[in-house]
């Protein structure tokens, strides 16, 4: 399998107008991934599957990941005139990372026995525009996994044959796997409560924790 750079050039050549970005991976497993843009994703996926040299005919894993807004404190060099002198000064400033929901696909080739190629699709934001093109028409193995991502994360997959909740009951409204999910208050008595269970116990038995 060629390196990601060659792959990127071939993808851009095959699907005109597709923006592809290589995301490095910090861990020693060195599995960098490709970030695709939303509107060309289906075409690129089709290319990845049908190209004879790549032949990624097996989408092993489709995962949802939630990246909420994070405030990063950074020291950046700022040119400031300190009492008249032009000087480089390090200054702390906060930078908000963009918040989005992400769907990660691990692609393998059963015919040529290579992989994994990791493909990432990101939604615009975490609140209203949370839709992504579904890859189920290309690989049917993503059918249940995309339903699970929709159920637990809330990413709406357009073009999915049968998008409904897979694990939770249909009337459930919230998305449990998001980082800012607040659990329903179904506290049950536990004889040894501590940490967050203790906090809940105190809420339920204000007179004092039932030690």
């Amino acid at each position: 399998m060629e390196t990601l750079e060659q792959l990127k050039t071939r993808i851009v050549a095959a699907a005109p107008g597709a923006q592809v970005e290589i995301i490095p991976n910090g861990s020693p497993a060195n599995q960098p991934s490709l970030l695709l843009d939303r509107d060309h994703a289906r075409a690129v996926a089709q290319f990845l599957r049908d190209d004879s040299a790549l032949a990624f005919d097996y989408a092993s894993n489709a995962t949802g990941v939630d990246w909420p807004e994070k405030i990063i404190k950074e020291k950046i060099k700022v040119k400031k005139t300190v009492d008249g002198v032009e000087k480089e000064v390090e200054e702390m400033c906060e930078r908000k990372t963009p918040a989005y929901l992400e769907a990660v696909y691990h692609l393998y080739s059963m015919r040529l026995k290579h992989g994994p190629l990791i493909v990432r699709l990101r939604t615009e934001n975490r609140t209203d525009r949370v839709s992504l093109p579904s890859l189920t028409p290309v690989w049917r193995s993503c059918e249940f996994q995309e339903r699970e991502i929709f159920d637990l994360y809330g990413i709406v997959f357009e073009g999915h044959p049968d998008l409904r909740r897979i694990l939770m009951w249909p009337e459930f409204t919230d998305f449990p796997m998001r980082k800012d999910y607040v659990e329903a208050d179904d506290y049950e008595y536990e004889p040894t409560p501590h940490d967050d269970i203790l906090a809940k116990a105190k809420k339920h038995f204000p007179a004092g924790a039932p030690v």
């Binding site: 861990s27 894993n61 990660v104 049917r140 909740r165 796997m177």
Partner: protein, 380 residues
């Protein structure tokens, strides 16, 4: 009976005759809490929608609150028949994430334990499949008689029969007790006798052949596209065994073959599992022969607050049910940022409806039995 296409079937029967039946969640042969909304025309299946979620306890959210060491016992509860292969998949992924290398002896112990788990799973499956077909208990009891011997071996090594919690990232928890290798060697030497007995009881049986031949045929291209993995995929003739493809652990050193089926129907899936058991015995013999001495834990591995560098890793093994994968994203903290399990049972169920259309209720039960699902892994 030719598999009629869904539209053709639905059109033929007037709607009033279609009978909606909910098979499950309390049903004797759904292998756990699992429901299938089946609409029947007489006894022929016209539509089948699987419904999951009865055993969903959000294993992944729990793992995000637990430390890396803390979520190892939870992996036992994923596919509760093969706890050791779950442990291995998770431990291998954390080793990829944190860059740990288990010593030789630990790798050999892992291969031995995962092949023993494969024996348990395949023999139990053959027993449950026959139970679904109506042979009440006999094949299942013979399979469980052998399984008990293997579970006793697990108990003497890991402390528990099913919830072993034995493997750690960087190696294993404790070394083999004296005489354990000897007991495994004895078990491996007289397991083929059980297999021959099992095949004599079943494989030639005309009723079994009649009930399984041509039932639930899974064509190879649909299998590959739908992400089916494991014995079910190889029964359709696709040569894809992760032990051979990735050669993870020390599988590269063993000579064993990968049986491939021809037609991909229920009989092939049953036979593939029997043949795979024989291959596993070969691996076990080789592994028992040249297991080295030495430490069983990577000295560099820190069990308690392990904080791998920010990054992600996807590790996968050939579990008895298919490709069991773990996808971990770490942000440098003691808890994984994202912990994802790739469940072979859930993804193998994608093709359940395609295989069951046009068959009768009795076949739906047999086809579901041949897919080999465990609800702990499907619902997580």
């Amino acid at each position: 009976m030719a598999t009629a296409s869904p539209t053709e079937l639905a059109a033929s029967a007037p709607p009033s005759q279609i009978m909606e039946v909910a098979m499950g969640p309390q049903h004797p042969s759904t292998h756990g809490v699992f429901r299938m909304d089946v609409s029947l025309d007489g006894e022929t299946v016209v539509k089948l929608k699987p419904v999951f979620g009865y055993l969903h306890r959000n294993h992944e959210k729990i793992a995000e609150k637990c430390s890396y060491l803390g979520s190892i016992p939870y992996t036992d509860r994923l596919d509760y028949i093969c706890s050791l292969t779950n442990n291995w998949a998770y431990a291998m992924t954390v080793e990829k994430l944190a860059g740990l290398v288990p010593p030789e002896r630990a790798e050999y112990i892992r291969v031995i334990l995962s092949e023993l788990t494969r024996l348990i799973n395949h023999s139990a499956l053959a027993g449950f499949l026959l139970q679904d077909m109506g042979a009440l208990g006999t094949p299942l009891m013979y399979a469980f008689r052998e399984r008990e011997k293997i579970l006793d071996l697990f108990e003497s090594l890991t402390g528990a029969r099913m919830m072993c919690n034995y493997m750690r990232f960087g190696g294993c928890r404790c070394d083999l007790p004296p005489g354990w290798i000897e007991q495994v060697r004895r078990l491996v030497s007289d397991f083929p006798k059980f297999l021959d007995e099992f095949e004599a009881l079943l494989t030639g049986n005309e009723i079994l052949q009649a009930r399984t031949e041509g039932v639930g045929v899974l064509p190879a291209p649909l299998a590959v596209n739908a992400g089916v993995t494991g014995p079910m995929l190889r029964a359709s003739g696709v040569n894809y065994d992760i032990r051979k493809v990735d050669q993870y652990g020390v599988y590269g050193r063993f000579q064993f073959r990968v049986p491939l089926g021809e037609r991909g129907d229920v009989f092939d899936r049953y036979m593939i599992r029997i043949l795979e058991m024989r291959e596993s015995l070969k691996i076990l013999e080789q592994a028992l022969r040249d297991i080295p001495g030495g430490p069983i834990m990577d000295p560099k591995a820190k069990l308690r607050n392990l904080r791998p560098k920010a990054g992600e890793a996807y590790g996968r093994i050939e579990g008895p049910k298919g490709e069991l994968g773990f996808y971990l994203i770490s942000d440098g903290g003691p808890n994984p940022y994202r912990y994802r399990v790739r469940p072979p049972s859930l993804i193998n169920l994608t093709v359940l409806e395609d295989m069951c259309l046009g068959q009768t209720i009795a076949d739906v039960v047999v086809i579901l039995g041949s897919i080999d699902i465990v609800l702990g892994e499907v619902d997580r």
